[in-house]
């Protein structure tokens, strides 16, 4: 099948007039928004750390992965069986376990890997981040029981899906997907309010804009940086657990894949910007699901469309949607 022919076949699947499958289109939008909200949640960690210390923390995807395993471990080894059956008991505890593990890992990587390199040339912490990423993946592979293969992840929320008929067919959204979408957006909004309105949030923005002057204001940059890793880690850990509950399946590569998408989302939205990370994440989720459905090559090419969008956006808006243009010094 030629490329052109394949293209038209795929387009027909979404936009064809003979059998208008509007519901397929809507289903993919829903799938895209769920995936995109997760990507946005992870992207917050990239964008905040970059904003404060100008480091692309390539190990952040691994913080997400470790959170999923932390949640699984909490469920498997710590939760009494009666608690595991009731989602309103299991969910908060598993979220807490996952977030805690992710925060610990994030804080430890800042303290032992990045802080000693604070004044080193920027390439050094970047390479270190890649090293931390590999180390974390291998650590989980070696030390978590049976982690060499994908592991099943339990249902920690209301099982089943919400389904309804629309556009000539049935579309469905898992309850765990609704949870992922809602929790991600609520957390992002809460973070934006915290950064805009609180005293610590103001200290974070000050440190991001001019670390030396922030010190002159009595702000301890080390504390702000640790706080940034704590917040990013907690969001990633929660993301990892919710993602596990949504797909019922986790593996040690999930952090790398989602991390690439999330990093791209942060750049697309304008690195340093909270709303940019969320919008970038949603856009990437939509491009991935709709591109996989409607564009030639199907899901095999979804990465291609994501990076095509990235390139096109960066050509016209190098700072991303909400990124700061070059700072003007008076």
């Amino acid at each position: 099948m030629g490329l052109l022919e394949s293209f038209s076949t795929q387009l027909t699947q979404c936009f064809g007039s003979t059998s208008p499958p509007v519901f397929v289109f809507l289903q993919q939008i829903i799938n895209g928004l769920v995936l995109g909200s997760l990507i946005g949640l992870i992207a917050l960690g990239y964008t905040m750390v970059y904003g404060i210390i100008q480091l692309i923390n390539f190990a952040h995807g691994e913080v997400f992965m470790v959170g999923a395993y932390g949640g699984l471990a909490t469920f498997t080894y710590l939760l009494p069986t009666f608690a595991a059956r009731e989602w309103y008991i299991a969910l908060p505890l598993v979220l807490l376990g996952g977030a805690l593990i992710s925060v610990l890992v994030a804080v430890a990587m800042e303290r032992f890997a990045y802080r000693p390199l604070r004044n080193a040339p920027r390439l050094a912490p970047l390479i270190t981040a890649l090293g931390v990423s590999v180390a974390l993946q291998e650590a989980v592979r070696v030390f978590y029981p049976n982690a060499t293969a994908a592991l099943p992840f339990p249902n920690i929320f209301v099982p089943g899906s919400l389904s309804f008929s629309v556009g000539g067919g049935d579309i469905a959204i898992k309850y765990s997907g609704i949870l992922l979408l809602v929790v991600s957006l609520v957390l992002a909004i809460a973070l934006q309010i915290f950064v805009d309105g609180s005293r610590m949030g103001r200290a974070m923005r000050a440190t991001a804009q001019d670390r030396d002057v922030a010190r002159l204001m009595g702000i301890n940059p080390d504390r702000v940086i640790v706080l940034t890793f704590v917040i990013g880690g907690a969001l990633a850990g929660i993301g990892g657990v919710l993602y596990g509950g949504y797909l019922n399946n986790i593996n040690i590569d999930m952090g790398f894949q989602t991390g690439i998408f999330a990093f791209t989302a942060a750049v697309l939205g304008g690195i340093g910007s909270i709303r940019g990370a969320v919008i970038g994440g949603l856009l990437i989720g939509l491009v991935k699901s709709l591109g996989g459905q409607c564009l030639p090559g199907g899901t095999a090419y979804d990465y291609v469309w994501i990076f095509v969008v990235l390139i096109v956006v960066l050509v016209f808006r190098p700072q991303g949607f909400f990124g700061e243009t070059e700072r003007v010094r008076a």
């Binding site: 005293r199 103001r202 200290a203 923005r205 000050a206 804009q209 001019d210 030396d212 002057v213 922030a214 010190r215 002159l216 204001m217 009595g218 702000i219 301890n220 940059p221 700061e324 700072r327 003007v328 010094r329 008076a330």
Partner: protein, 241 residues
């Protein structure tokens, strides 16, 4: 009596380059003290070392007799030393009010902070009118007012101002220096670094000339204004009476 601030034989280096190599001076409570000297003499480096942004190679900085030169910058503000840096360095993407609130970051007395915000707005009404505007959009003079206001928000015992007249019109410079004079009247001690030696000396209780990283001359503002060496090097001919 112990001087309020005493800098003893300070040496500061950036890598192999010694920017300051033997600066000594004292500041008494309630005074305006100026450090004057040409560009690159080491004045800014001296202030940055006092506020803890730089570590001295040798020498001592004593505040009320207590050494502070090994303390980190964020603790030195808490000791009562505020530093308004060269080039103003406002948080350009934040509003006037956010900049001022950052100046009061270490304080927890909300009522006192609000009162001091009003005090700054009284001192510089233009800031009050534009308190919700982003600082980066302001003119040089307005930015300088905000930088001074921000430094005042910590209620410092010692206010260090680095080149407050830089880039300002003569009228605006006069206004800023009038403000500094007013702060002294309110009991704030001021350490001023200036290239505009004439204006600085006219205002100062005491001044030090820094040349090539060393304090070379000292006297009251009036004495240095009258000193022929100062006139020739920093004031230009025919400026003094």
């Amino acid at each position: 009596m112990t001087p309020f601030l005493e800098v003893r034989d300070l040496t500061v280096a950036y890598g192999a380059i010694q920017a300051v190599r033997g600066v000594s001076f004292t500041v008494e409570q309630g005074q305006i003290v100026s450090l004057i000297g040409s560009n690159g003499a080491g004045k800014t480096t001296t202030l940055r070392t006092i506020s803890g942004l730089l570590r001295p190679v040798s020498g001592e900085i004593l505040l009320d007799g207590t050494p502070i030169h090994r303390r980190p910058a964020h603790e030195i503000l808490g000791l009562g030393v505020a530093h308004s840096p060269e080039g103003r360095r406002l948080f350009a993407r934040m509003t006037v009010e956010e900049n001022l609130r950052l100046g009061a970051y270490t304080r927890r007395d909300e009522a006192g902070i609000v009162a001091d915000l009003d005090r700054v707005y009284d001192l510089f009404p233009v800031l009050g009118e534009r308190r919700r505007n982003k600082a980066g959009l302001f003119s040089g003079g307005e930015q300088q007012m905000l930088a001074i206001g921000r430094a005042l928000m910590s209620r410092p015992k010692l206010l260090m101002l680095d080149e407050p007249s830089m880039g300002l019109s003569p009228i605006m410079t006069q206004k800023i220096f009038d403000t500094v004079r007013g702060l002294r009247a309110d009991g704030t001690t001021v350490l001023l670094v200036e290239q505009n030696a004439l204006a600085a000396l006219a205002l100062s209780d005491r001044a030090y000339v820094i040349d090539l990283g060393r304090t070379t001359l000292t006297g009251t503002g009036g004495e240095l204004l009258a000193d022929p060496r100062v006139q020739e090097a920093y004031l230009g001919e025919g400026v003094s009476s």
